[in-house]
Amino acid sequence: MKSDMEAYFHSVTLDSDACKGCTHCVKRCPTEAIRVRDGKAKIIKERCIDCGECIRVCPHHAKQAIFDPLSAIDAFPYKIALPAPALYGQFNNLDDVDILLEAIRMMGFDEVFEVARAAEIVSDATRHMMSGGMVVRPVISSACPAVLRLIQVRFPELIPHVLPLCAPIEVAARMAKREAAARTGRPAAEIGVVFISPCPAKVTAVKRPMGSKVSAVDAVVAVRDVYPKLIRLMKQVKAPEELASSGRMGLGWGSSGGEAAALLNDRYLAADGIENVIKVLEDLEDDKFTDLDFVELNACSAGCVGGVLNVENPYVAKAKLKRIRKYLPVSCNHIGDEVPREVKYDQMVEYQPVMELDADLGKAMEKMMRMQEIEASLPGLDCGSCGAPTCRALAEDVVRGFASEDDCIYRMREKLYAQKGEDEKK
């Protein structure tokens, strides 16, 4: 799946036939990246952060996520599955993690590598980097790819605060490949790793990574796609092998607050849900927090268990995850004295000024003046009938040359009445 990489790949796409041209997604998008044009919702590619909010709210299921079919693993002689911590919270009465892991293996994998293992490594590495004072405080978690992309397009001043460590999924893929190559003697090209993902943003993060040039993950399947299969297979598991090798810290990453709690430092904040995340980022930008060391941000409510590719209600999944974690050891995976290379970013996240009106400051200011004039002349109802989320966004589109003031139906009505009045005079 790496062959079709492009500058703005997105895992969130539109099924034009199913789209009715309503404005649910337009109004909900946190980066104002959707417009209804010619009766269909169009995604402005540069702005989309793949958070999946539009998938969540679309009443016609026209917004979809692209991911790989399970058959994608067939291309590799040696197959490894990477289950996300959020997956563990999807099942009823799961007391023994090994039953789940065994069932995953039975889907056709040679090996299962828990992402939670890598999460514990990342937690350890984060503690190490923070005690060394290597990142500007408060340190912002880099685990949620939708949040990372949001910072990249809307909060450039906060980029130096971003923890320059790869997300657990990336670390897991690297570790799994390295360990499997050493154990089996196979070349890396023969080893395929497949992530079982709770969200579309992770798909994008694999196809178009931010902290490295290429991702070590070979394919991404959706939790909801493998769920029915797993339910069936779990019933067949009699005496599972002892496969679980992560503790409560690693699995804790599946819900909001888990990553922060694993730092063993009380001076943290954990926010979840994209609106709340944006408010926290705004406040961070204004220096409103003075006593914080770490900020954990998850685009989905309740954290990764809230991802749109999951099956279970996010809060129910969170409760289930909590129960599973209860009798696990605290942490089973640790780094040595140094943060290993495979955990670190290869490249820093760069600002992408996609919201600017013009690359030239003077021209941008002229456009802003015109935009404010147009906005003042619009009714201010933010009704969405023109296809833009707000009157301000329509004004912006007009200035950018993508729309006309006549797209406003109230404007149109005024014109018609004026015309009618003139006709009657004649």
């Binding site: 220096d287 013009d358 941008a364």
Partner: protein
């Protein structure tokens, strides 16, 4: 740009600086300038709510500078020099309980801006003028 800061409503304080921040981002202003303007203006807004029953803010943007005028008809500042000292505050107890009134408002405004003047007359009101320069522009 012109904003009215409503009196005695902490939940709405910060709205004006937030709006200015959004506008400056959209015209592609230097991020460091945006940050300094946002912080200085936010502090000013909070001051207006705590001490002056609200007020009015006018912001002028040019490629090389952002000028802010914060005017209120509050009680005025008795000793401007003292008010400019870090840690000095006349904020009432209930405001301090909210985490405000640490005596860092005016000092921070001074710290984050390139020019700042304070004119105040007791019983008439206070006008703060601040400018942030865009050295890159």
């Amino acid at each position: 740009m012109h904003y009215v800061v409503p009196p005695d409503d902490f939940t709405r304080a910060g709205e004006a600086s937030s709006a200015v921040k959004k506008t400056l981002k959209q015209i592609g202003m230097n991020p460091d300038v945006i940050r300094r303007v946002a912080i200085a203006m936010y502090e000013g807004e909070i001051n207006m709510v705590i001490h002056a029953h609200g007020g009015e803010i006018t912001v002028d943007v040019a490629p090389d500078r952002v000028d802010m005028v914060l005017a209120d008809e509050g009680p005025g500042i008795a000793d401007i020099e003292r008010a400019m000292q870090a840690g000095y505050s006349t904020a009432p107890e209930e405001v301090r309980n909210l985490g405000f009134g640490a005596g860092m408002g005016l000092p921070n405004m001074k710290k984050y801006t390139d020019e700042m003047t304070v004119e105040s007359t007791l019983g008439v009101g206070t006008t703060v003028r601040m400018s942030v320069f865009n050295h890159a522009g």
